[in-house]
Amino acid sequence: MKEKINSIFEEAKAKISSAANESELQNVKTAFVGKQGSLSLLMKELPKVDVSLRPEMGKLLNQVKNQVTELIDTKRTELKLKASEVSADFDCSVPGLLPQAGGLHPITQMCYDLNDAFRSMGFEVFQEDDITSEMYAFDKLNFPDNHPARESMDTYWIEGHDSGSTNEKLCLRPHLTGGSVRYMQTHKPPYRFVYPGRVYRNETTDAHHERAFFQYEALIVDKDITFTSGKVLIQTILSKVFGREVPVRMRSGFFPFVEPGFEIDMECQVCGGKGCSVCKHVGWIEVMPGGSPHPNVLRAAGLDPDEYTGFYVNIGLDRLVMMRYGVDDVRLFHSADLRFLKQFR
């Protein structure tokens, strides 16, 4: 009997360990410890065993039965851990389903990124109307009468409002800066504001020129500001856009509404400043004009230029977005082409 018990135990151990899944294991359980299982049947044969051996055999039989049950439970846990809800050939490489497929325009995204950065420095966000008068587009910005710059920004004039004095002539704004004067006229200094908006120029379009494009103006006006504070505004913009510090340089530039005026260049992000075809081999890319508002502009806004000064930058958002993503045709921004827009999430 002892041999028989041991051989059944060995057999049970082998079957348990080779069971590949829970149903096989269940069969093993039935075969050994079920009501008709071999160990249960042996138990029934116990009365036939010699009385002197009976307690020992009974004890052994119970031990084995318990051990088998235990092994089965262990094996079951083991199998559970290994098992899956699905068959083993489930294909995890099939593509996922897109969640709600919408998005903000890439220029809106850029604009909001910048707004967040400037707001964290206490700047307000300002917005103004698209149609303005020549007075605000040019006069108040220190553009002398008949100055070439008045027409270098070929302006879209509004029919029926395209002649007469400058306060009567209306146009789609050729730049944002006139709107900044409006802000200053209606707020008390010191000023810290950003002003995103679309501007319009009547020119021939190509991959790099558009009739409608976006500018982002940042202006700070206070007492005792030096023009070097402007670098902080510039670095804020660029580090927000590119996610790290980007070397910038300010060089002499001329715009009627600033004095001194700067062209602001950033290190070419394609070649890292070494020189490449993108930066015309100079290592720098012109990204924005800037400078201290011209005393006449401050006067137009009702401020005393002896008391107040400031710094302004005006960055082309389209250009920045093009650099951020490598977009090579500015006209795509107004195309309303979903094949293009859906790429920006």
Binding site: Q100, A101, G102, G103, L104, H105, I107, T108, Y112, R119, M121, G122, E124, D129, D130, I131, S133, M135, Y136, D145, N146, P148, Y156, W157, I158, E159, G160, N167, E168, R182, Q185, R192, R198, Y200, N202, R211, D222, D224, I225, T226, F227, T228, S229, K231, V232, R249, M250, S252, G253, F254, E259, P260, E263, K280, H334, A336, D337, L338, R339, L341
Partner: protein
């Protein structure tokens, strides 16, 4: 503007080892933007002077010859050539393998390789002038004429760039960066700036001293418009080519050599920035008068344009009438003719804005007008005169000055500015010593006297025509001479009065993010002008719609009064690629009415409103599904963007909308927009093929942002609530609003009824004609106990009976 480095070096002694990259960098940083530095010789790499030793016929082609060409070091090469003027002994330009040429001066650059031409091996090519970019310097008389360099007596094998003196460096300056610096328009001006930047001596131009007494006279009638006019009459000149050196320089900076007389005037302009002009003296009757033109006076220009002048134009005249448009262009009759032997040289100064008006008026901008309109100082005439006379004497040794007149009626005052040193230091953010400041300004030609805190600055004449006029200008000069790179960024300090709180700005952003991120819509941008097709289809009426004077295209003249036409256009564009999409745009719309003067009383601005509009387009969903999606976007907008809720009423149908599917959108009593299905007719007029389109447009300026998030916390139900669905038959004209109102309105159907929700609507076979089945989900519950099923049934019964009485609902039996 292009500048020749060798020409600049005529006036400033740049050390031989000057790093040109550094020079370009310094000019860019401190003065003007150098866009390009070109080593000109590189254009002529692998091109040498060859001497033709023999010419043999080509075995397989009548028009080709095989030339034996000495290309130096005793190497004789076979070169196949089709030139018509080939001669033994001729010096020619040979492009060896590796040289870059353009076939016949046109098309893309081609790299020369060893090749066979009609079966004969050819080493490179013998070039025509336009094939190696020298067409303007050596114009060919006929096609297929080879560039004959025999006049340049150099040995065979001499690089072309050495032979033709083309080892120069060309600096290309961005014109925009120097519109405010008239003094820099010319080689001398740039040389003067370089001299200041590097503290190098500048070569003075020796003034011309006339030694002629004559009655030659010039009258200036308008001295404001013509502050100075120098006339020099000369004999002993003729029309002949200028010396090669002069032609070479004129050509290198982008102009065309013509003949010596014209070239001298152009050369002097390129050197000094002051335009000059030469008249054929025999064509000038009596003396020169500078005056305003009479109305409708006529003038035929050098370029054969016949002008009808006006009183604002300044003209140079003789006894018979205008001979030149002052500062813009000479007249056809009086300019240099092939027979010219006597000239009158004009070296003059004209007022900038007048020249500019005239040049623009006749769309006739020239090298001269573009310089005068920058405002040149009248003292510069002295340099232009001196250089002109120097070259006349060099080129025409027999020249005689027969008359001279310098009318200088309006002298220019040097600009004088007082600057406080304290102010200067504050604005610079850096302390500079008085010596440093004096030194920097002194190098630029400013006279500086410092008395205590006050610095008195007198600008040089060449900076006094408007460029330097206020103390900020002086500060800029100091800062740029010191070097902008040498100023460190100073953080600005600000006082914060409180958090930025801009509800209206935030609301629009919240809405845009809600539409894009929560509703899965794509934001688009379109232009502010509308296409006539979509204006006619969607708006159907252009009363009060503003127009552009000069639109981008004739059919794009209307400025948008609604965002919908352009959105419909966007739908059409995208229909090719997508059959189910939704887009939105946020932008301003304009109307020729409600003019206001928010900032300046003299200004009057039209109605400008901000709108948000959307289009839901589908070719795959049914209209009721599309409608509910679109309406859901509007209904839930307030909840996610923190503003007052919308209500919907049918008050006035939008013209573009379907007769049934439309609603007006309200906030309180204000109608703030509309939504609806684009009618079939409008859809077809737009060119939409298969899509159903629902549009909405709301006025974002009329939305009311909530002061704060105002929804209140509600306690979680303590006792379970039960959802109880009922399906009832209603008349098809009974709306959900009627049904909802009947049970949830002021007289609620049952106290324990918490809510009633629309589940679905069904019309079909099992439903009697004129009826529809609506499934309603009732939420039933009590705050005091768990309801028994009898109690729940009782509430449901009350609802059914109320619906029966109020809106004719019958329980669906089957």
């Amino acid at each position: 503007m292009k500048l020749s480095l060798s020409w600049i070096k005529d006036y400033v002694n740049l050390p031989e080892d000057t790093d040109l990259k550094q020079l370009a960098y310094d000019l860019t940083m401190d003065t003007v933007e150098v866009e390009d530095v070109e080593y000109m010789a590189r254009r002529f790499d692998n091109m040498v002077v060859g001497i033709i030793e023999a010419i043999e016929p080509h075995p397989n082609a009548d028009k080709l010859r095989v030339c034996k060409v000495d290309i130096g070091d005793g190497e004789i090469k076979d070169i196949v050539c089709g030139g018509i003027n080939l001669e033994v002994g001729m010096r020619v330009a040979v492009s060896c393998p590796g040289a870059v040429v353009r076939w016949h001066g046109e098309g893309e650059p081609v790299v020369i390789k060893n090749s066979k031409l009609r079966g004969v091996a050819s080493y490179g090519m013998i070039c025509a002038s336009d094939e190696i970019g020298l067409g303007d310097l050596f114009p060919a008389n006929e096609e297929a004429e080879i560039l004959d360099l025999s006049a340049f007596e150099v040995p065979a094998g001499t690089p072309i760039s050495d032979a033709l003196d083309l080892n120069d460096v060309i600096l290309e300056i961005d014109n925009k960066s120097m519109t405010n610096r008239p003094d820099l328009w010319g080689h001398y001006g740039i040389a003067r700036e370089i001299a200041a930047l590097y503290n190098l001596p500048l070569k003075e131009i020796t003034p011309f001293v006339p030694d002629v007494a004559s009655d030659f006279n010039v009258d200036i009638e308008d001295t404001d418009r013509c502050p100075r006019y120098i006339g020099v009459s000369m004999t002993g000149v003729s029309v002949k080519p200028a010396p090669y050196q002069m032609q070479n320089r004129i050509w290198k900076v982008g102009m065309r050599p013509i003949n010596a007389l014209v070239d001298i005037t152009n050369y002097v302009m390129l050197a000094t920035g002051n335009p000059t002009h030469a008249f054929d003296a025999t064509q000038i009757s009596d003396h020169i008068v500078v005056r305003r033109a009479a109305e409708n006076e006529k003038l035929l220009l050098l370029n054969d344009k016949e002008l009808e002048l006006c009183n604002d134009d300044l003209v140079i005249t003789d006894a018979e009438g205008p001979v030149a448009l002052a500062g813009v262009m000479g007249g056809a009759k009086d300019s240099i003719l092939p027979t010219t032997e006597q000239v009158i040289l004009e070296v003059a100064n004209f007022e900038s804005t007048g020249i500019r008006r005239t040049a623009l008026r006749y769309d006739n901008r020239t090298e001269a007008s573009s310089r005068y309109e920058k405002a040149i100082d009248p003292e510069r005439c002295d340099q232009a005169l001196a250089l002109s006379m120097q070259y006349f004497k060099e080129i025409y040794p027999e020249v005689q000055v027969t008359g001279f007149c310098d009318k200088y009626e309006k002298k220019l005052d040097r600009a004088q500015i007082d600057v406080s040193l304290t102010w200067l230091e504050k604005r610079l953010g850096k302390h500079l010593t008085n010596d440093e400041i004096e030194n920097k300004l002194g190098l630029l030609g400013f006279d500086v006297t410092i008395d205590g805190d006050n610095m008195h600055v007198v600008a040089p004449t060449w900076r006094s025509t408007g460029d330097i006029s206020i103390k900020d200008d002086v500060m800029e000069e100091v800062a740029r001479m010191y070097g902008y790179d040498n100023f460190e960024a100073t953080p600005f300090t600000t006082s914060f009065e409180g958090a930025i709180n801009q509800k209206d700005i935030d609301l629009v952003r919240n809405i845009k993010e809600y539409l894009a991120i929560r509703c899965g819509m794509q934001e688009v941008y379109t232009y502010p002008w509308m296409n006539d097709t979509f204006v006619n289809a969607v708006l159907q009426n252009t009363d009060g719609v503003l127009k552009l004077s000069t639109p981008p295209a004739p059919n794009l003249s209307y400025i948008r009064s609604s965002l919908l036409p352009n959105l419909c256009e966007a739908v059409v564009k995208n229909e090719r690629y997508f059959d189910d999409f939704s887009i939105f745009e946020e932008a301003q719309v304009f109307y020729d009415r409600d003019y206001s003067s928010p900032y300046d009383a003299t200004e009057s601005l039209p109605s400008q409103k901000r709108k948000i509009a959307a289009a839901f387009a589908t070719g795959t969903k049914k209209i009721d599904v599309l409608f509910r999606e679109a309406k859901g976007v509007l209904e839930y907008m307030s909840r996610y963007t923190h503003m007052e809720e919308f209500t919907f009423k049918k008050v006035e149908k939008p013209v573009w909308a379907d007769n049934v599917v439309w609603m007006n959108i309200f906030v309180g009593d204000d109608c703030i927009g509309e939504m609806g299905l684009l009618s079939k007719k409008v859809s077809m007029d737009c060119g939409i093929k298969n899509l159903s389109v629902i549009l909405f447009e709301i006025d974002s300026t009329m939305l009311k942002p909530l002061i704060s998030r105002t929804n209140k916390f509600e306690h979680l139900a303590e006792y379970p609530e039960t959802d109880y669905d009922v399906s009832m038959l209603f008349d098809v004209n009974t709306t959900w609003a009627d049904i909802y109102d009947a049970i949830m309105g002021p007289k609620k159907a049952a106290a324990l009824l918490k809510d009633a929700a629309f589940v679905d609507e069904y019309r079909g076979k099992q439903i009697p004609a004129g009826k529809k089945s609506v499934t309603i989900r009732l939420t039933i519950g009590s705050e005091e106990k768990t309801l028994t099923s009898q109690e729940i049934e009782k509430v449901a019964g009350q609802v059914l009976s109320k619906l029966g009485k109020k809106v004719g609902g019958e329980l669906r039996t089957q």
